[in-house]
């Protein structure tokens, strides 16, 4: 009897904890907002600086790779709703409160031009890619053979720098596929290093499922997208 009571009380406490959560969160958000409002002015100034330095395209690495940070806590609750009124006064509804007009000046296609140049250079050099199994970042026998030839080419072209891109098929989450793509790229890099290529000649990047080689929803296509792609760096 006491045992059953004990179980019930545990369940009761647990469910109360769950019910209590939203209330707790509201309080913590509000108190955060209150405490920040006192220092809001000073912070806003620094956020402007950060934006300025960022928009010039450079990275603020003065503090070990951390840029400036504005206040983002909720300043006031209520959502601008004023409630119904028996004699409502006119409320002006504006449009531009939150979205700026986009500045397209940064979009010059430079990145894509670079990629095209890399692709041309890679295929001219005859560099081969590595394909991976589902969920896997293990290099197959076929992949080892391809990388052995890639390593030979790199040895006879000692000035060449290679970027290893990790790619995934569309199955799986965008987030996890970035990590999986990095594992694939690093597996390729590590094998090339094992074959005697200097690590300083190799860099890795993961594109997850964001830059697929093939767009169909079929295994034949997925196979092509689970890839370690060797891109020959052009320029510096």
């Amino acid at each position: 009897m006491t045992k059953t009571l004990g179980i019930y009380s545990v369940m009761l406490v647990a469910s109360m904890a769950l019910i209590g959560m939203p209330g707790c969160s509201k309080k913590s958000v509000q108190s955060g907002g209150d405490s920040q409002s006192t220092q809001g002015m000073a912070k806003k100034g620094s956020s402007g600086n950060g934006g300025g330095s960022g928009s010039s395209g450079t990275t603020d690495s003065s503090r070990s790779g951390v840029g400036s940070f504005p206040d983002t806590g909720v300043q006031s609750a209520g959502g601008g709703l004023r409630g119904l009124d028996k004699n409502p006064s006119e409320e002006r509804v504006g449009n531009g409160t939150m979205l700026a007009k986009m500045d397209p000046s940064g979009s010059d296609g430079r990145q894509l031009d670079e990629i095209r140049a890399e692709q041309a250079a890679s295929s001219a050099a005859g560099l081969r890619d590595v394909l991976f199994g589902y969920d896997s970042w293990t290099i197959s026998e076929e992949g080892r053979q391809a990388l052995t030839r890639d390593a030979e080419w790199m040895k006879s072209n000692p000035g060449a720098q290679v970027k290893v891109e990790g790619h995934c098929d569309e199955r799986g989450t965008a987030d996890y596929n970035l990590v999986l793509g990095e594992k694939r790229a690093k597996a390729v890099r590590n094998y090339l290093v094992e074959l005697g290529i200097g690590a300083n000649r190799l860099s890795v990047v993961s594109y997850g499922k964001e830059r697929p080689f093939c767009q169909e929803h079929a295994e034949s296509c997925y196979q092509q997208n689970r890839r370690g792609h060797l891109a020959l760096k052009t320029g510096k």
Partner: protein, 446 residues
């Protein structure tokens, strides 16, 4: 005493068999419906039309259509079909006089709790068109017109007027701000690039935010809705975490440690930014104190840790780790303490997001080789699969009222954005343009 022991042994056996037989899903479904039922019955509400107050004929109809959809999506109201109940809505007039009294009486008799009507007009003033909208509310409980709203603005904000009025209705009957004025940030393919966009919560009025011609991924809102944090490949050799101010379009880098810096998430009070970074080798979780700029490493593990999402009280994080092989959900204190595994079912669980009410965590689960949406309670006791069928579902994000999720899916071929109720009902497709829309993130309520 022996009886108690017997019962518990019997219960344990039943649970064990249930788990082994794999019928947990159907069991969880029953529990789920009970656990998420709103604390109130839906309030029956009828929209008796937005009359023409001078101007084009489409105006009132447009507002009425937007308003009705908002009311329906709120899940606070049950939208009733007034003409279907035999109520002649045109008699409501301006809400005073015998005609409207008759409509009120009829509605009350048919069990309609709330009646809404209004008037909208457009006029040219000072060479600029101006839209005026009035909306009024009759409550059958108190048998009176409880109040109304008057809005004015340019023709481009007609939908926003309807959204605003819908949120006032939700606010009146729940004290919550409503979600009709919320926004959804997402990633859209533009040629070979992926750029950030923001649209209204109903998929309308999409606007492009970035245009640097390469990859911009996984946007997340700041608690005050003024900023997005996201992963940017501006320099193709590193993936940094950038921030953009929506009102100005100003953009800068906040995390640039080298390696892959992904899945940023601001704490509910804005004081911490949790993110994953591989700058020390493999992907680990870190948190940046946004005031002191101190970075604290939260996980120490040879496998991949990523995708942190904050509990609404900011004390805990749910995240993904493949320390057991495939990706699974784990929980820990926001300082990295007390790590424990949350998901045990299936070999692939990822992209967790903690609901704003705290009681559920939505995520992507792999079920019979398909990637679908699931939800699990933070104690791991309740679990349910929300979506079924073909297509890869990804990147769930909660509405601020906790009643909906937005996600991307390839169910219709190309990847598009969809909305679904938190109980798995009423899937609504939000995007129709473009070649690939993904990674939606629902804004906080204003």
């Amino acid at each position: 005493m022996t009886q108690v022991k017997l019962i518990s042994a019997w219960l344990g056996g039943v649970l064990l068999i249930a788990g082994l037989a794999g019928i947990l899903e159907s069991w969880a479904a029953d529990v789920f419906l009970e656990a998420t039922r709103p604390d109130f019955q839906k309030i029956s509400l009828g929209v008796a039309g937005i009359q023409n107050g001078g101007g084009p004929d489409w105006l009132g109809g447009r507002i009425e259509e937007v308003l009705k959809k908002d009311v329906k999506r709120s899940l606070v109201f049950d939208l009733v079909d007034l003409p279907g109940l035999g109520i002649k809505t045109s008699d409501i007039g301006n809400g005073v006089g015998a005609g409207s009294k008759a409509v009120f009486k009829q509605a009350a008799e048919k069990g309609v709790s709330v009646l809404v009507w209004g008037k909208a007009g457009l006029k040219e003033a000072n060479k600029e068109a101006d839209v005026n909208m009035e909306g009024f509310v009759y409550d059958s409980g108190s048998d009176e017109v409880v109040g109304g709203k008057r809005y004015a603005g340019s023709p481009s904000v007609v939908r926003l007027m309807a959204h605003r009025f819908a949120d006032e209705l939700v606010f009146r009957y729940t004290g919550e701000p409503g979600i009709a004025r919320t926004k959804i940030a997402y990633v859209s393919e533009q040629g070979a690039a992926r750029e950030l966009f923001v649209m209204d919560y109903d998929g309308h009025d999409a606007r492009q935010l970035t245009a640097d011609g390469f990859l911009n991924l996984m946007p997340r809102w700041s608690p005050d809705r003024r900023f997005l944090v996201f992963t940017a490949y501006r320099n193709r050799n590193t993936q940094d975490i950038d921030m953009i101010e929506l009102a100005t379009g100003k953009r800068w880098t906040v995390i640039s440690l080298g390696g892959l810096n992904i899945t940023p998430a601001l704490s509910p009070d804005g004081n911490f930014l949790a993110f994953a970074s591989s700058h020390e080798g493999n992907s680990e979780l870190y948190r940046l104190d946004t005031r002191t700029k101190a970075i604290q490493r939260l996980t120490v593990n040879p496998s991949g840790d990523l995708s942190p999402s904050w509990s609404p009280n900011g004390r805990e994080l749910v995240f993904v780790s493949d320390r057991g092989g495939g990706p699974q959900l784990f929980l820990m204190g926001s300082d990295g303490s007390n790590v424990r595994r949350l998901t045990f079912e299936g070999d692939y669980n990822a992209a967790p997001v903690w609901s704003p009410r705290g009681n559920w965590i939505a995520y992507v689960c792999r079920v019979r080789k398909e990637y679908k949406l699931c939800i699990i309670s933070p104690d791991g006791q309740k679990r349910m699969q929300l979506t079924t069928g073909p297509g890869v579902d990804d990147s769930p994000s909660w509405s601020p009222d906790g009643r909906h999720l937005v996600f991307s899916s390839t169910a219709d071929g190309k990847s598009h954005i969809y909305m679904i109720n938190a109980d798995g009902k009423d899937i609504e497709r939000l995007t129709f343009e473009g070649t690939h829309n993904s990674a939606p993130s629902w804004s906080p309520a204003s």
